[in-house]
Amino acid sequence: MMLHLFAAFVAAATAVLIFAGGLVTSTGSGLSVPDWPTTYGWFMLTFPLDKMVGGILYEHTHRLLASAVGFFILVLAAWLWRSEPRRWVRRLGYIAAAAVVAQGILGGITVLWFLPDAVSIAHAGLAQLVFCLTVTIALTTSAGWKRGYEVPAGPKGPALRALQLLAAGTTAAIYLQILVGATMRHTGAGLAIPDFPLAFGHLVPPAWSAGIAIHYAHRVGALVIAILILATAAYALYRQRGRWELGRPSLLLTLLLALQITLGAATVLSGRQYLINSLHVVCGSFVLATSLALTLRAYRSRFTQPVEAVQVAA
């Protein structure tokens, strides 16, 4: 139980870190601390608080939070190694530890190389994978997952298979959409189309550039994701009635979708106000994580026996 609570805490801390990272990009503070891993020559943890001014406030706070989250994930991995009987869950911990170290190095490299688009986009994309790993660990160490969810009687096999595929496809599509969004942010195309919901007053932009194409792809992607999420949620709620471990994330996913589209529109209409923009980033993470949780729960029966049986066997 304590392990699950700690894993949930680490996942929440990772979400806060993603929000802080969003603030760094949204305020254009990514290079306000030119050195790494030091901060203006100071060891990161001893940098004077009174010097955290301007863009440094965002960048250095992001580094401090990243250090804390990195430490938490290493503790989580060690904890799993010591006490988790399922080998594949332990491995998730190791992968999360390796991923968060790689993420830190990517963050450093992108500063030292003056924010090259490819590295910054990879930093944003890997952040989502780290978050997904922590969410997966939190989910798979929960009491409900370990116990196994009760499946009401009835012929639900084909329907469940369809839901599994639909949810997995939706999760993958959301991740791709986040990568397109990261590309848009880091190439400065966030306002390439300045109006919403239309594009320069048309359904399809009348003129094209690389920035407009990336921005428009993100909007089209949002439409596709909306359809996928609504289809998945409707399918889960209708065809798997009574299975609230699927119904609850489906409803949450629908609510998050509405919030995310609202935040996306507000980001454009506010001229990329930095708080709204950063909330859009972290809400995207929540959409992804919720879809992932729904997918994993839909696949729960593939993970055969309850954990207690594994522990007895061990």
């Binding site: 100071w42 001014v53 490819a118």
Partner: protein, 257 residues
């Protein structure tokens, strides 16, 4: 048990990292071929040298300078509580300040010595001072922090090497030389996003920056016909052809709107 889950996450993560690093590394800095050392004496005969003199003006109603909000750093507020934006500075009778005027073309293959003096770009009152300046390729430029706060000096050139260096303490200096001609090299401070400077880097000494009266002078030019350009950070560029006779001063006037 589902054994493929971790592989499914590891492979895209690794691909993401490796791809990003490879892409960024391949797009790295360009090698610049070593050039011949610059001459030590000027190729221009002072007995026949001429000049270009003129004034840059702004036509129309000058924009009202916006107030620069420096609350993000209390040290800056103390330095310049009434700070206003310096992007377009229009003085009496429309004189336009901070315009970089230079000979863009017409010098042929003439090569010029590198000036021994050091040019200084100061950070004072949480601003770059001066906002616009010129330097020759190979000339030493010193960036100084005269503020009681920290700055990062971030040059974002297109042709020269980008650099970003921290100056956490007052009095710190950073010296730099530019390796190739570039008009203009923008400077910024990411800590204080309102801070901007622009350095025009040329391989000859014929450049000037307009002062409060909008005037400029390009001195010691060999007789000939030149393309002279005036550059402003937001109003764009203007060029004109100017013919300089021996020992003469040619007039040139630029007007931005």
């Amino acid at each position: 048990m589902w054994r493929c889950s971790y592989r499914g996450l590891t492979i895209p993560a690794l691909a993401l990292v490796v791809g990003a690093l490879a892409s960024a590394a391949c797009g790295g800095s360009q090698e610049i071929a070593p050039a011949e050392p610059p001459p030590t004496t000027s190729p221009v005969d002072p007995a026949t040298a001429g000049h270009v003199a003129g004034r840059v003006t702004f036509d129309g109603t000058a924009p009202k300078p916006a107030v620069v909000r420096m609350e993000a750093d209390p040290n800056c507020v103390q330095q310049g509580a009434a700070a206003t934006d310096e992007t377009v500075l229009v003085g009496e009778s429309g004189s336009l300040q901070n315009v970089f005027v230079y000979v863009k073309d017409g010098l042929g293959n003439l090569r010029f010595p590198v000036p021994p003096n050091t040019i200084v770009l100061d950070q004072k009152g949480c601003r770059y001072v001066p906002r616009v300046l010129g330097a020759q390729v190979g000339q030493t430029m010193e960036v100084l922090n005269s503020d009681p706060t920290l700055h990062n000096v971030h040059a974002v050139p297109a042709a020269n090497r980008e650099f970003n260096t921290g100056q956490p303490l007052p009095g710190m200096k950073h010296t730099h030389t530019f390796s190739t001609r570039e008009v203009m090299v923008p400077f910024k401070c990411d800590v204080h996003p309102w801070m901007r400077a622009f350095v025009g880097v040329l391989d000859h000494p014929y450049f000037a920056v307009t002062g409060a009266d909008g005037t400029f002078q390009l001195t010691g030019l060999p007789p000939g016909t030149y393309v002279v350009e005036a550059w402003h950070e937001t109003l764009g560029t203007q060029t004109q052809s100017v013919t300089v006779g021996a020992n003469e001063t040619a007039d040139a006037a630029f007007s931005f709107t």
